[in-house]
Symmetry: C2
């Protein structure tokens, strides 16, 4: 394991020692799976990603220096996949499958560079957009988020003394280990780290991953972070994201085409991947409508990742749907990954235990839970709900509805149109904290 | 402040990097104050100190390797006061007084060496004795205790992995800082570190002292550890110990002489020291009898350190005595130092606040509270009640009665004699945990 005294290192933070983006593998695994498919099927689609800070009360441009942000973004654009990384991508097995990435894709990655960005300060927030081919802009999502989140952490810790930092990290470690001990009490737990995008910082995420590896043993099945997976011989975990149905819906020329987009994504996907990678993400435009319109073959997929409904409600909805389609839920997999923490993991585990296979993707509350840890009451360490979403596709507006209207993105008129297409059923607003 | 990643250092422990006794100043300040007086008044008295493990359930010789113990004891005998240390002792003010140590004493310290020891294994325990002139053997008390306690900690942590150690110290730091935050709520708190003898280890005590300095500001008045006081520009705290009345009582040729010994000590003491150093330690042979027989001038001293009665009961007893002697308790000082922790500090502070000046000497529960901190249930980290006491003086048996019979030491026949002389009043057995 890596041995780093995080408090000392935070105190010593300097650009050369700790640039935020250290590797293009420091991203979520699903970006690479999606990227390979995007490059095959949609090489000419132009997609613009934009940063969206749902936590409006936090004025990012007041907390983060624009010059530092530009320096980190510029630095990320200088990073390339290294030979070692490409050899590992080519030679490693993912989700039990060898050679999941084709030689042609690996060769293309060798020349990959993050595209340019457009950054403005608007009323205390940053307008940060990435325009260009989807197969390039998609790769900015995770680095953009990790850069903003880590710059925010660094700003919050900048004026802390060496001792305050020592206590801060000691408490955060103690807090996480208490969570680990609670999770140990769940014998059949299957859990992975999904915390890259909203992590406190790279070194801290690495510690968290090592903590789960050490504390949960085989119950910890891996991390979505490809770099940490490589460096720690862990399984890289992930499948696909909302951007796929969002882009395909935006590309559709008719309402029927929009309605069909979520299933076309699955059709694209199963031509590329198999087995455990056949996970449905049902809520881009609402789970109720997705399930109501889904063709029967969707019930043959390995599982679902309900990502915006409350986990027990969302899980029951999918189990009922499997049963209605004559499938045995006990053979199926549910992946819970929306704002989970120990309480909700325990409750969900106990609720579904024995009825369905379960896996948990633990994100922000794993890698950025410093609540109550700062020796002095300091702002800036609470996580915020920051996302980077597709906003336009070949010049057309993109939309996400979600089961939770608080997570919807897109222009109001276009959201209204999507709501007419997919219906209002099953939507309920819940606070989005992380 | 010193920046040491304790988990890494513990993992790397090696003799050359971390001998347990690093300096002859790594002792309690009162040893030096007493030593100067002993050397002046009792240079020819022979006193044997012996290790006494009151926590019989812990078989020290099973946990600690005899060879390692000998190596550490032998190493301590090679350590001398350095020039820098002697210059500091001569030039620094203690308890507000300059030149408290006479040049002649400093010159004598320059040649000081810890005397030889006698070590045997008996039924799972160590019989460890130091025989020789009192002015030499007295200096073994603290190093003997710190060596045994730290060897015990090292044995308990030896098989821990790097990560387990990281969590262990993170939790211990978080635990201590939670205590600091509770103590901050007591605005007039006066507290010092008395935790040298039963500390987990030197580096850990140093961290604890830095934590109190950082967290409590001026409420933290210093440390009994002379080396840490020097290195951190803190006040060295301490006055005198039970060994003074124990030795003088043992030297007495009659029961009357034994009965007079506690007051003779005070008489000796006031010829050497003044002001804040005029602190009465009343319980060597029982506080009730001490107060009943005390001459009126004892009430002119600055304060008392009740060291074996429960703090509120013990404090009230002394306040009543001051009042009976027409002194105003509000001008007097009570120092509480027997097994204190945050709960008892808070309760005692609130009970006496405004009625008497108070100071707390925080010992084992400051520097060795790892209860609940080990990621795996590991024995050997709970503190034990280990002392090094005078057992014979010029061949005669020495006795301590204490207010708590569980803390009594000495041969049964001699204890019975002392009980006849001092009476049974006010004694009640309480469990001794630290």
């Amino acid at each position: 394991m890596a041995v780093t005294d995080i408090a000392t290192r935070t105190y010593d933070h300097g650009f050369r020692l700790d640039p935020i983006v250290r590797s293009l593998l420091d991203t979520d695994f699903y970006k690479l799976l999606m990227l390979q498919m995007i490059r095959h099927l949609y090489p000419d689609v132009q997609a613009t990603f934009a940063l969206i800070n749902r936590t409006k009360a936090v004025r990012l441009a007041d907390d983060i220096d624009e010059g530092e942000l530009r320096a980190q973004l510029d630095h990320a654009r200088t990073v390339r996949f290294t030979k070692k990384e490409l050899i590992w991508l080519a030679g490693n097995s993912f989700a039990g499958q060898a050679r999941i990435f084709e030689p042609d894709f690996i060769a293309w990655l060798a020349g990959f560079q993050l595209p340019d960005y457009d950054l403005r300060r608007v009323e205390g927030q940053f307008e940060l957009r990435f325009a260009g081919p989807w197969a390039h802009t998609t790769m900015w999502e995770i680095p953009a988020l990790t850069i903003i989140n880590e710059l925010r952490s660094r700003a919050a810790t900048r004026d802390m003394g060496r001792f305050t930092l020592d206590v801060l990290y000691a408490r955060a470690k103690a807090k996480l280990w208490d969570k680990v001990e609670r999770l140990r009490a769940l014998p059949d737990l299957v859990i992975s780290d999904f915390g890259t995008r909203r992590r406190h910082g790279f070194l801290w995420q690495r510690w968290c991953v090592e903590a789960l590896k050490e504390g949960l043993g085989s119950r910890f099945i891996g991390t979505s972070n490809v770099l940490l997976a490589m460096d720690n011989d862990l399984e890289a975990i992930g499948t696909n994201a909302h951007e796929l149905p969002m882009v395909l819906a935006a590309l559709a020329d008719s309402d029927e085409g929009v309605a069909a987009a979520p299933y076309r994504v699955l059709d694209d996907w199963r031509r590329h991947y198999a087995g455990n990678l056949l996970i449905v993400l049902p809520d881009a435009f609402g789970t109720a409508s997705f399930l109501a319109q889904a063709p029967d073959w969707v019930a043959d997929w390995t599982g679902f990742r309900p990502d915006s409904a409350p986990p027990i409600v969302g899980g029951e909805q999918i189990i009922r749907w499997w049963q209605a389609h004559g499938r045995d839920p006990a053979t199926k997999l549910l992946i819970f990954s929306d704002g989970m923490d120990v309480d909700s993991i325990e409750a969900t585990y106990r609720h579904f235990h024995g009825r369905v296979r379960m896996s948990f993707g633990w994100g922000t509350n794993l890698t950025n839970d410093f609540r109550g840890c700062a020796p002095d009451a300091t702002g800036g360490l609470e996580p915020i709900s920051l996302v980077a979403k597709v906003v336009t596709v070949d010049g057309r507006p993109a939309v996400k509805l979600s089961d939770n209207p608080a997570k919807a993105t897109g222009e109001p008129a276009e959201i209204a149109r999507y709501l007419r297409i997919f219906g209002e059923e099953g939507r309920s607003s819940l606070p989005v904290t992380v």
